[in-house]
């Protein structure tokens, strides 16, 4: 165990954490704002990368490819939204159905190969692992921070508008929202589309960063997203009241998650056990509010 090897791994952890932070912001919108647990993200976290990489390999401009990736993610969100609202399927199951179908869709996008590489020397990738220790504008940490800042600014503006407020109201109290003339079904669909669009953007950037897209790269994404949201809740919950700060906290939460993972790996944990560890940690943190409530309830009965 050499401390330099850990320090060497840190820039990579930060860059990855920031890219996953974008995804976590997408999860925040469904999980916290809309009060829906959306499992679509495990699929759309590969869809964005698949669309972007395949379009670029086909000679499409990088920005056009990124926009298409976001659009593909939004389409996935739309499908989940329609499953839930028009077909009456519970949100978790709707997400699982879309996620499952996306596995086939993603493979189809990727020419029925499990992964597709894209070389940074031949294609104008916006972020790349190769430059993670570079000083300057080519560093993926710098680029991702700009994307995050823009994203948070746009979301902050949007959720302050009439339409954005009606989305927040739908998540806060659906019955009240309908009584105030808000079409809660449309709001849920729109929220799922925005969320999965953001997740697909993160997916495309992750594919750029690692230089390939893999059909399994989204597996467990929802857990990482929830972990980031929960970490930020625990650390910044009392501190950050403002919506923009909360979103920032979620991105920081993802970075903390990746640094912790890096430390755990450095301590010698088998990489294959990571998902088990993540799931258990998230399970415990999700249980905390329930345990707290039960302790209070017990006190009242006594």
């Amino acid at each position: 165990m050499n401390i330099t090897s850990l320090l060497n791994a840190l820039p990579g952890a930060v860059a990855q954490g920031l890219i996953w932070g974008i995804m976590a912001i997408g999860v925040y919108i469904t999980y916290k704002v809309l009060d829906l647990a959306d499992l679509t993200v495990d699929g759309s976290m590969a869809t964005g990368g698949a669309v972007c990489v395949m379009l670029m390999l086909g000679g499409v401009n990088v920005w056009v490819a990124l926009v298409c990736a976001v659009a593909a993610g939004m389409l996935a969100g739309l499908v989940t939204g329609v499953f839930h609202t028009a077909m009456g399927i519970p949100p978790i199951l709707s997400g699982i159905l879309t996620q499952l179908s996306l596995y086939s869709v993603n493979l189809a996008i990727m020419d029925f190969k499990a992964n597709q590489g894209i070389n940074v020397t031949k294609y104008p990738l916006i972020v790349s692992q190769r430059n993670v220790r570079a000083l300057g504008l080519s560093n993926p940490i710098f680029t991702t921070l700009i994307v995050l800042a823009l994203l948070i600014a746009v979301l902050y503006w949007f959720f302050g508008t009439e339409l954005g407020s009606s989305l927040r109201a739908t998540g806060a109290n659906a019955a009240m929202s309908r009584a105030q003339g808000i079409n809660t079904n449309v709001c849920k669909i729109l929220g799922l589309m925005i969320s999965n669009g953001i997740v697909a953007l993160s997916s495309a950037m992750l594919a750029h960063y690692q230089g390939f897209v893999d059909v399994n790269m989204g597996r467990g994404a929802i857990v990482i997203g929830l972990a980031a949201v929960i970490i930020s809740d625990v650390i910044f919950g009392k501190l950050f009241r403002n919506f923009a700060l909360k979103l920032t906290g979620v991105a920081v939460g993802a970075v903390i998650y990746y640094i912790v993972i890096q430390v755990v790996l450095w301590l010698g944990l088998n990489t294959n056990l990571l998902k088990l560890l993540s799931a258990l940690i998230v399970a415990v943190f999700l249980a905390v509010p329930y345990w707290k409530a039960n302790m209070k309830g017990g006190g009242r009965r006594a």
């Binding site: 949007f158 302050g160 508008t161 009439e162 339409l163 954005g164 407020s165 009606s166 927040r168 109201a169 806060a172 109290n173 019955a175 009240m176 929202s177 309908r178 009584a179 105030q180 003339g181 808000i182 079409n183 809660t184």
Partner: protein
């Protein structure tokens, strides 16, 4: 003008839990009518209000306001014409949103939600004035989350929200039942004040016979999904609780055996 024509609703049809909640309700309200609705548990009072609001589709019959057919419109579309206050103070407001945000949502009832600002400075000033008139000190806490308010404060706020944009019909569904007697009285006073000032057509469900007699210009009693008594004008002014109970016995053929009503 509100019209209900032969409105029927059965919950859980063809199961052991089948319940005929509305058994052909006919009702006509004129503009400015303030109607109190009483009846025992399961008489169909709240169900009638929910049928008007469109919480679920009715089985048959028609519902119209000013000749505008509501029967097949979804809940959020009917909201343009309706102001609603619910029994549970939690239902009418968004707890995790600010007081002023809740008001801004209500001010846009029946309008398209655009990408314009969710709340403007002029609006804030208008809300501050209206909140001040409630006399609850809420005008100084406009950015506080509604979840921090007491039940009475939340009901007063919901009442303000329901009438911020003048509705064609105000639906008050036992909106003081969950409050302590003093707060309930205050919220009732406030309701009457708002209804009178805005000349609102109102349906107010209550479990309290005295309140039903005291407020409004007309009283209807429901039993087993039907309107069994309809009293208005001078006759209503001289009503007593005893007269109401007698009337119930005559109309329904049974004694008014409902603890909750007798006790209140």
């Amino acid at each position: 003008m509100l019209e209900l024509v032969n409105v029927r609703k059965t919950f859980n049809p063809k199961t052991v839990n089948e319940k005929v909640a509305l058994d052909g309700v006919n009702l006509r309200l004129e503009d400015g009518d303030f109607v109190t609705v009483i009846g025992g548990n399961g008489a169909g009072k709240s169900t009638m209000l929910n049928a008007i609001a469109g919480v679920w589709p009715v089985d048959s019959g028609r519902i119209a306001i000013d000749g505008y057919e509501l029967t097949h419109l979804p809940e959020h579309r009917r909201a343009a014409l309706l102001g609603r206050v619910f029994q549970d103070p939690m239902t009418g407001t968004a707890a995790t949103m600010q007081i002023e945000e809740n008001l801004a949502l209500a001010a846009r009832r029946g309008q398209r939600r655009t990408l314009k600002a969710g709340i403007t400075r002029q609006e804030r000033e208008a809300y501050r004035e209206k909140l001040a008139r409630l006399g609850l000190g809420l005008e100084d806490r406009m950015t506080a989350k509604v979840g921090l308010l007491s039940g009475g404060q939340r009901q007063a706020l919901t009442l303000l929200m329901a009438t911020l944009k003048k509705p064609k019909l105000l639906l008050l569904d036992e909106h003081t039942a969950a409050l302590d007697p003093r707060t309930a009285a205050k919220v009732l006073e406030l309701s009457e004040q708002i209804v009178t000032e805005n000349h609102l057509m109102t349906l107010m469900v209550t479990h309290n016979m005295r309140d039903a007699i005291r407020y409004g210009n007309r009283l209807i009693m429901m039993n087993e999904g039907r309107v069994i008594l309809d009293i208005s004008g001078d006759e209503k002014k001289h009503l007593t609780v005893e007269m109401l109970m007698d009337a119930f016995a005559r109309a329904s053929g049974e004694a008014f055996a409902n603890d909750r009503i007798l006790l209140s």
